[in-house]
């Protein structure tokens, strides 16, 4: 069974087709990347998958269950997790409290159990030293790690990451790549990554979907995508193939 599936998704904003007949399949534990130029419809696709936007046509299935019209918070309870392009944290809560809000969705844990579980995740993410700090006192990169910790605290089966490397320096990106690989191995997560950092995409993704003007123009392994003339023309550029070679 697929962990997450989108079938024939259409989404229009007025006269603009943001998504036109887009399919996406993510197997259990698979690392998938969605790439494409700005405005290709990548974030719209994540919005449709998470219920922030309703598709005009098409179906979304999570572990085989149709969730197309399900409220966002119910999708999260059903096993989806997501982070945002610009990092959305709860500014008036501490790091620990941010993560505890995510941990709280699973059953009726006591406050001490919630705290312990959240601290485990915070430690895994290397944030133990700032667990009790006000979130806005953290650097941008660490705030994004808090957001990721909060998403993990919801114990998702499928994690959707919207440009997690945006705004991070090269050292932080390397750390993020290592951390994502570890987390995936540790939690058996399926991951959908939207990213412009091709180094990160090619290192982590097992399968890549390419969008352009709301349409899927290619799908394949990193090697296949790097050699696909349509992808090179629309997004990566002819120079990319030469650089890789």
């Amino acid at each position: 069974m697929n962990a997450l599936e989108a079938r024939g998704i259409h989404k229009r904003y007025g006269g603009l087709a943001a998504l036109a007949d887009v399919d996406l399949t993510v197997k259990n534990g698979q690392f998938v990347a969605v790439i494409g130029p700005n405005g290709a419809g990548k974030s719209t696709l994540l919005n449709v998958l998470t219920g922030l936007a309703m598709p005009d046509e098409g179906q979304v299935l999570l572990a085989g269950q149709a969730i197309t019209r399900m409220a966002t918070n119910k999708r999260i309870r059903a096993g989806l997790g997501r982070t945002f392009q610009h990092g959305r944290v709860f500014a008036r809560l501490s790091v620990l409290e941010n993560v505890m809000t995510g941990a709280a969705i699973r059953g009726r844990l006591s406050e001490s159990d919630l705290r312990d579980f959240s601290m485990e995740i915070i430690e895994q993410m290397g944030l133990a030293d700032v667990a009790h700090e006000a979130i806005m006192s953290l650097s941008y990169g660490r705030r994004r790690m808090v957001e990721l910790s909060r998403a993990l605290a919801c114990r998702p089966h499928v994690l959707l990451l919207d440009e997690p490397a945006a705004g991070l320096n090269s050292g932080e990106v390397d750390q993020l790549i290592d951390r994502l690989a570890e987390l995936r191995a540790m939690h058996g997560l399926a991951v959908v990554l939207i990213e412009h950092n091709m180094g990160m995409v090619m290192r982590l993704a097992e399968r890549i979907f390419v969008l352009n003007f709301g349409c899927k123009i290619a799908e394949g392994t990193p090697a296949e995508i790097q050699a696909d003339p349509a992808v090179l023309s629309a997004y990566l550029g002819e120079g990319y193939a030469h650089a890789v070679v």
Partner: protein, 326 residues
């Protein structure tokens, strides 16, 4: 450990209020009692506005529902105030839930306008439903509260009742601040989309915040009716709702200590400015405006700033603790 801050706040309220009760003259004692009643209402508003970010300009309507509920049940039905008060509070909570469900689909200015409309409607209904509410004449002869032979009818006696209720509400609010529900309310205010993405049912949280807010308002309304022994539509107009909001913002929204400070300050301020004669309203407005402009985090925010510079006093420590992350 989890109850340390709520207990500190409750103790501080009872000790400070008790000392004030011993030194204040009768008239100022009456003002203190009114300020404590307002503080209960403002703590309620803090749930809706300070925590969950719901701009309510109809809070006085819920105060009125509690007050009128108690007044009608005690005078028309002849119930004991001890029985009438919980029934009036429960009825207000149910009304808030029913009103909140459609109303809280609105956001920002629209929600503010809708709640303002609710308050205006409440005024119109209470002014015109003469058979039930007495119209603009209001309802008089509300019986006082008594515990055995002890009556809470005098200002001194009522002070202890008001202090106990305020301490209880403030302690409960402080405990809630650090609870799962408190975190969820704050999360909804900080970022509604991220809250949904964290599995929080934002509609449910907003309704819960609104109902909690109305419960505190109804408690304040019951206290008001028991204190004044009289309720009338003019006691619960939209102007009162705006005053509650001003009290919260001046004290420090999102904070329990701020809610209490704001209520006490804005109740006594007109009295302190009485020497200005008819010009007092101008200075009162100017002062409130000054606080809003120069102290956007209210008096508690100022206290936090000052306490960072100097050693923490126990009062400031207790004031800061619940708002440490705000």
């Amino acid at each position: 450990m989890a109850m340390r801050i709520p207990l500190q706040i409750a103790t501080a309220i009872i000790v400070l209020g008790g000392i004030s009760g011993m030194v204040l003259p009768e008239y100022h004692l009456r003002l203190l009692n009114l300020s404590l009643i307002s503080a209960v209402a403002v703590i309620g508003l803090n749930f809706a506005f300070g925590y969950a970010g719901l701009i309510s300009l109809g809070h006085a309507a819920f105060v009125g529902m509690g007050g009128y509920g108690l007044a009608i049940l005690t005078t028309t039905c002849g119930w004991s105030p001890w029985l009438a008060a919980p029934v009036a509070i429960a009825a207000t909570a149910i009304s808030a839930g029913l009103i909140g469900y459609p109303l809280l689909r609105l956001r920002g200015h629209y929600l503010a306008l809708a709640t303002l409309g609710l308050n205006v409607s409440f005024y119109i209904v209470t002014s015109n439903w003469i058979a039930m509410t007495g119209g603009t004449n209001g309802i008089a002869r509300i019986p006082g509260l008594a515990l055995g032979s002890f009556s809470f009818s005098g200002e001194h006696q009522f002070l202890w009742l008001a202090l106990m209720v305020l301490a209880l509400i403030a302690a409960a609010a402080a405990a809630l601040h650090k609870s799962r529900l408190g975190r969820e309310m704050i999360a909804v205010r900080d970022d509604e989309i991220a809250s949904e993405m964290t599995g929080i049912d934002t509609t449910r949280i907003k309704i819960e915040a609104f109902v909690l807010s109305a419960i505190c308002a109804a408690v304040a309304g019951c206290l008001f009716a028991l204190h004044m022994r009289f309720v009338a539509p003019e006691d619960f107009t939209y102007a009162h709702s705006i005053t509650y909001l001003a009290m919260l913002i001046v004290g420090g929204e999102g904070t329990i200590v701020g809610a209490v400070l704001g209520a006490v300050l804005l109740t006594f301020l007109p009295e302190w400015l009485r020497f200005l004669g008819t010009a007092y309203l101008f200075f009162f407005g100017l002062l409130v405006l000054g606080i809003l402009v120069f102290l956007p985090t209210g008096l508690v925010g100022l206290g936090q700033r000052l306490s960072r510079r100097s050693a923490k006093t126990p009062l400031l420590a207790s004031a800061r603790a619940p708002e440490a992350t705000s």
